[in-house]
Amino acid sequence: MEVTERTAVRIRTRKIKKDQTMTKFYIFLTLVILLLLVAALAPQIVPYDPYAQDLMKALQPPSPEHLLGTDRYGRDMLSRVIMGGQTTIYSALLLVAMITGFGTLVGLFCGYQGGKIDSLIMRISDVFLAFPGMVFAIAVAGILGGGLINAVVALACISWPKFARLARGQVLAIKNMPYIAAARLSGSGSIKIVFKHILPNIIGPILVTATLDIGTMMMELAGLSFLGLGAMPPIAEWGSMMSEGRSMLQTSPWVILAPGCAIFISVTLFNLLGDTVRDVLDPKTKREKRRKNESKK
């Protein structure tokens, strides 16, 4: 039989998708920072005093003068939405910082230490986890009375175990890595091992969860405010603004749509950021990068 005829060398091409993870990450990060800046500088950039009432101008539809209209007290909605951003976003941030910090510490301790204390604390976290989130928050907020701080405390109470579990799981996963053994052989003490060798290596997934949680927490705070268990009037807070404006959906929709869109946009932004952070930290993408580096060498 003949040797297969040598045809001309065939060339195939395919469009190569560029890895846009980092670009996306920077875009979303910029947007989030922008959002945080707007919230931080709210008192400086609001066009009107968000608390100044003018009953003569109540419930005006959006106009050049009041871009998002006015609420029933004649307060400028745009100013209130911006101001509300400060309250809402920073309470969510504070809340997430609290539960992440506390939960991670507990998780680090439990995962590293193990033993009886570990199982005791994990049982306690089981108890907290057993309460369906919103239920417990409603109950605690109901008990403590309304108020933004109490709402934050209520949500913090039930949300920390999630981070404790996450951190603990991560610790257990890397506790037996050779580099931890190596660090111990280097004579490093437990505290040094936990904070220098374990924490930096588990912080990635925790940060991702924390970022994604900012959005969730904003929604839960809004839910509590909606029930009248969150921020108290006249404080501009998106959830309570929506709750206040809900009866005006048909008559003056801007009163509820403005804070509604604000919540929607910020939650989406934080979620998008969280997702991209996850992609950035994803071991798979990292491995691919490393492989690429190697092949370049």
């Binding site: 580099y179 053994a181 190596a182 111990r184 052989l185 280097s186 004579g187 060798h197 930096p200």
Partner: protein, 251 residues
Amino acid sequence: MNRILAVSNLKKTYTKGKSTICAVDEISFHVDKGECLALVGESGSGKSTVAKMITGLESLDGGDIILDGKTLKNPGRKERKRVYQLVQMVFQMPVDSFNPRIRLGESVMEGLINQGMGRRAAKNKAIEYLEICGLGLEFASRYPSEVSGGECQRASIARAIARQPQLLICDEATSALDVTVQTQIVKLLMELQKNQGMSQLMICHDLALVQQCCDRVLVMHQGRVIETGTPDEVIANPREAYTKKLIDSIL
């Protein structure tokens, strides 16, 4: 005293559910100063557990470890520090044995700083030992993910010997590496043994490799030592069926 390490009736058991597994079953051996001893066996033979017990990473369930003349039994924090002055270890997975977020140089320095050395001195010493292990200055500032497996293993050796231990334990230090790199590392280890006068405990599954570089060999099977002798003796005249099978399997 000529023995850096003496182990007698060492025992380690694990409980899994209701059954108890004896990972290390009353084994005894010793390492003389300047000697290179090999522990050979297949996975599950308990050889790595022995290494972990000697370095205090695992507790003992029985037996004694006499290190440089002193007995240690489940050492406390202080005692452990003394152990780490005497014994250091090189791990199987080179990249995993470095904290991915810390530069190689920093990792080598860590042990020195823990020993009480100043940062500057530690840095110089780290660079010195990295060079001994064939890594240039630039490697000190690289992350583990930025270097190859062989380079990482060199750094790992540098980290271990920088503390000038009397005994170096190599737990499958070469088995994850490519063959050409493997020979380089083995060569480095043999040089170090000669130049630094270090004793070595080599944990390995490859009899051929052991034959190249070790003075004595212990064959382990199911937690027991079944055969000892010089590599040549053992390979030439295996007494146990298992040892024979092991030798025959080498292609």
